[in-house]
Symmetry: C2
Amino acid sequence: MRFLHSKKYREEKQVFIVEGDKMVREAIESPMEVVQLYYCSGSSQEFESIGTLISEKEMKQISQLSSSSPSLAVVRPNEFSESLQTIAEKPLLILDSIRDPGNLGTIIRTADWFGIETILVSKDTVDCFNSKVVQSTMGSIFRVQISYRDLVPAMLELKKVEVPLFGAFMDGDSPEILSNVVKRGALVIGSESFGISDAVKREIDHSITIKKDGMGESLNAAVATSILLYQWSLSPRN
Amino acid sequence: MRFLHSKKYREEKQVFIVEGDKMVREAIESPMEVVQLYYCSGSSQEFESIGTLISEKEMKQISQLSSSSPSLAVVRPNEFSESLQTIAEKPLLILDSIRDPGNLGTIIRTADWFGIETILVSKDTVDCFNSKVVQSTMGSIFRVQISYRDLVPAMLELKKVEVPLFGAFMDGDSPEILSNVVKRGALVIGSESFGISDAVKREIDHSITIKKDGMGESLNAAVATSILLYQWSLSPRN
């Protein structure tokens, strides 16, 4: 059953994998469809009526965790059906080429905490249904919508409906300007190594920078995102 | 040379390993002692006068990275000699039982950005010279002092010299109270799974909480630390 983890299988079947009783339970409770559920004896009893009992050896074979969990679910995500105009009514996060699975997972988890419901990501961003991303979201993958698309046309559409576009750069205004963004707005974060790409940069209205008081060359992308989402959360929208 | 990475070897010799031209260069430029430097042909020329040329095959054997770098240095950290009274004159970070190497590395990197020079960590916190921690600090390991110690006696000493102790909890005041902490103060962050331990909790003067606007059960420990260090950086100390 190792094929469960191949990107090709997941893409063909349009499914992803979650592991561990807590994540499996969240999958069941989420609006997403649980296509298949495997559990070992010793796992949560509630899985018995809906899952397939397998041996620990079989679980080890299909698990991607260093120490396998007693349960695993194959989940089909909801289709993204809302128009850009609709999602633009709420605060948006835009990711330009995030490559590290742990960073993307942490960003999804933090976005969920701060009430961001939708993240637009460039097509070269790491697959959000990659098992490392999914596990590091700690369940937020079931709540935050991730939409892969060409960012420039999406940003042009957002500008048409007057959504202000903020971007994190090395030389910009204080993040405190985000406190004035009451509701509609989009925050763009660039890649770990190269920042925001030139084409995307051209569409950004406001540059913001997290001031450095010490040394160090940069902040981790997930850290920078979290700080800016926090600052934004202090606006009167809440 | 695989022994280089064993914790026992590192502890006996009191050294740690950094990999990659950028990190090796930072080690050379830092006040720490570079005990040994290995490089492959194709690495930075400046290493030739001080390092030992080895083959790529040998480098693969000693590297802990998935794709090995062309250079590796064995570094001896500086001894921690300052008294608690001295370090208490500047903002302090205190970590209670952080177990994930990536989290500790990211916290050290972020602390460096925000000008935190010293971090006190509980003795059960992951080894800061573990290779995953070192690499994820992105060079900040050379600038931020990490001191392993029993936290409760250290906190009692800090209280004696009137350092206010702040802790991140699930139910406390807004982080904005940190903006009033002009200079001296210590921020305590607890473990990923269990938060701040009971004994440490008892010594904390002010509880702070990052308000949740969405769903999700918790924030990643490095994310929470970063948000609070950012908020603290907005105080007039800067």
